[in-house]
């Protein structure tokens, strides 16, 4: 009976793989093409970056130096990719503007909060197939207008990055648990990741707050390159009669190594 169940499960998995039913972490607005036609410039909002060391004691200690380094790198990677996709990237000094105007700082924070709310709609736990990725209509509303008008950008790119490293004690504990498990089960030890990172990138229309495109990725290492790979899936565009249109069938497909949710 047990063997029968295993065979049925294996067959089901095989069917899913063979049928090519591919899921994606990309969420795209249903009117993406229409919005994109009017977007020439983008501003990159200050990324929300958290990097922690997971300690054996249960503490999660912020790694501030690494945070600053990663923040700079992911902004750089994002800028490079946006330029490569043909957008003008506005250099707006958010830090200076936020320091001199606490109300503006608060409004930038409200944009992040509003996106966090919209995220619940975009990632509600149900997997989304490639065919259905462009059926969304989430919006964060007019709260985006302040950033767009002050930076003179048509769209705003939001970046959220979470990274961790395990302390030596934590790694030893995970390894010991893995060895014990292997001893008991007679199997082999399972490789434990020492670090990891996850990034989420959202492309928001500066006039309406429509969430035009979002993607998220996670990898078992602490790296800024993940930002580049995440934006790479933003559709390539070209100009037809002066209007920006999406080049079809250019975005790379997801691979198993992307560790998406």
């Amino acid at each position: 009976m047990h063997t029968k169940k295993l065979i049925v499960t294996a067959l089901l998995f095989s069917w899913v793989i063979v049928s090519g039913c591919s899921y994606t972490s990309v969420r795209q607005h249903q009117d993406f093409d229409e919005y994109l036609a009017d977007i020439k410039s983008v501003v990159i909002a200050p990324p929300a970056v958290t990097i922690e060391e997971w300690q054996f004691s249960g503490d999660k200690v912020p790694l501030l130096e690494k945070k600053e380094k990663i923040r700079e790198l992911i902004m750089l990677r994002a800028k490079e990719r946006l330029l490569a996709k043909g957008f003008e990237v506005k250099d707006f000094d958010f830090n200076a503007a936020m320091e001199s105007d606490p109300d503006f700082a608060f409004e930038v924070n409200q944009v992040v909060e509003a996106f966090n709310e919209a995220r619940a709609e975009l990632y509600d736990g149900k997997p989304v197939t490639e065919e259905n990725k462009d059926k969304f209509d989430a919006s964060i509303g007019p709260v985006i207008n302040t950033i767009a008008s002050r930076s003179q950008a048509d769209a705003v790119l939001l970046l959220h990055y979470y990274g961790y490293e395990k302390s030596a004690g934590m790694v030893a504990k995970d390894l010991a648990a893995s060895v014990l498990l292997a001893l008991v089960s007679g199997g082999t030890t399972v490789a434990q990741s020492m670090s990891g990172s996850q990034v989420e990138i959202a492309f928001i229309d500066g006039d309406t707050g429509a969430v035009l495109w979002v993607n998220t990725k996670a990898v078992p290492s602490l790296t800024a390159e993940i930002a580049k790979h995440t934006i790479d899936e933003f559709p390539d565009t070209e100009h037809e009669n002066g209007i920006r249109v999406v080049k079809r069938e250019t975005a790379p497909k997801q691979t198993e190594s992307d560790y998406n949710y």
């Binding site: 054996f56 200690v61 503006f104 709609e121 509303g141 648990a177």
Partner: protein
């Protein structure tokens, strides 16, 4: 078999010994009012203070501090009056107001006490404010962060050990998490008790302490809502019952001239009303916005912003039925029904909410007078109802009367979209 059992007993005993040693450590932490407190002398506490400083910097950089001088000075005045005399080298207590609509206050181990706009807006008088600030000060004075940190660390270390014994299944974490919550509840009650003492010494009416739990009850359910900020706190009923006992035992002879100071608090409360409503709307707390606006409207009908925020709450409820359903579920707990049914109910009520929004905007215009935002509201309702011409008229009026409004791009885009739709027809 017996050998294995003996080994497990030995390991568990060792674990017990480790934990008992740790409990002794938390007991030796002295309050900051004692001479031998040794504040900031351990690595653990220094680390907590450093994190508190970093968190404070983050609150600043996100523009979350409310900077009105009058309100800030008032909070400091009340806070300082209830703070007990600290000994040399202790943390300095500072008071801040946060632009956050949730009904909450918090204390950091570096001595910073934060009270949210959402909580300030719900309190009724200065004595209640004094109780809230006293409660937070008590967390600092009795170094609850440090105690929790030791306790949490011990608990997690123990969980790691058991985790290893159970071959990494991680199931052992669950009981320790509930132990942590129980520990926090003890600390909350301890702070409630000390808060009464601080209030009494500052000549505030201690009986207002029990009133605080009544006025801060946001949800319609009596138990702590899982996932809410009060999930780790004792229930309000427990705290009221406990407060009554303490009052009967220690403060039954409260002085006749003990302060409540409702009038002075009123002027502060009025200053934050608009911001509280705006923050609540941003946070998609529609029903709570309507409730707070109605309370304020009972005092004055001539403030146009109160009408505007109330109308916006109805309009946004129609626009975001999912968020409205989520708020309803949070407010009413299990009795609210399942998510699907609730969403359907709010979707079905879309027209009703739009009508209500329009009615409130128009009533505001007639009772409180002109405010450009009323035209924004009426225009957006018309747009949602498919009445393109009224939408254009009202939204254009809004832009004409508020040419530098922050949502200009949004409104201009809508006008353009409506115009294109009309041309297409």
């Amino acid at each position: 078999m017996i050998k294995n059992a003996m080994r497990n007993i030995y390991l568990l005993s060792l674990l017990g010994l480790l934990l008992s040693g740790c409990i002794g450590m938390t007991e030796s932490i002295r309050p900051l009012t004692d001479n031998d407190h040794q504040y900031a002398s351990s690595d653990q506490e220094l680390q907590l203070i450093a994190r508190a400083e970093a968190a404070h910097e983050e609150l600043l950089s996100k523009g979350l501090m409310y900077r009105d001088q009058l309100v800030s000075d008032y909070i400091k005045l009340v806070g300082n009056s209830v703070t007990p005399p600290m000994t040399d080298g202790a943390a300095k207590i500072n008071f801040y107001v946060l632009k956050d609509p949730s009904v909450n206050a918090m204390a950091f181990p570096n001595g910073n006490v934060y009270i949210n706009i959402g909580l300030l807006a719900r309190l009724e008088n200065e004595a209640q404010l004094a109780h809230v600030l006293s409660h937070e000060v008590a967390h600092v004075v009795h170094r609850h962060s440090l105690k929790t940190s030791y306790s949490r660390q011990n608990t997690i270390v123990a969980a790691h050990i058991t985790d290893l014994l159970m071959f990494g299944t991680s199931l052992a974490y669950l009981p320790y998490i509930s132990q942590l919550a129980a520990y926090s509840q003890d600390q909350e009650l301890e702070s409630d008790q000390f808060a009464m003492e601080y209030m009494y010494r500052a000549n505030y009416d201690v009986r207002q302490a029990q009133e605080v739990f009544r006025v801060i009850q946001e949800t319609k359910v009596t138990e702590s809502v899982p996932g809410s900020i009060y999930a780790s706190h004792p229930t309000h009923q427990q705290r009221v019952a406990q407060a009554r006992q303490w009052i009967a035992a220690s403060y039954s002879q409260a002085p006749a001239d003990a302060m409540i100071a409702a009038e002075s608090y009123q002027s502060i409360s009025e200053k934050i009303t608009h911001l509280n409503l705006k923050l609540k709307l941003n946070d998609k707390q529609y029903q709570l916005t309507i409730e707070a606006a109605d309370n304020a409207l009972q005092k004055t009908m001539s403030d146009p912003w109160l009408w505007y925020y109330k109308g916006e709450a109805y309009r946004l409820m129609a626009e975001h039925p999912k968020s409205a359903a989520r708020e309803y579920s949070w407010l009413h707990g299990k009795e609210a029904g399942d998510a699907g049914t609730l969403l359907q109910r709010f979707t079905d009520k879309k027209s009703e909410h739009l009508e209500k929004a329009q009615q409130v905007f128009r009533e505001g215009l007639s009772r409180a007078g002109e405010l450009p935002q009323f035209h924004r509201g009426i225009g957006l309702v018309a747009y949602a109802k498919g009445d393109a011409q009224s939408a254009v008229n009202e939204l254009q009026t809004y832009l004409d009367r508020a040419p530098t409004t922050k949502d200009k791009l949004y409104i201009e885009h809508l006008l353009q979209e409506i115009g294109e739709g009309q041309n297409a027809h």
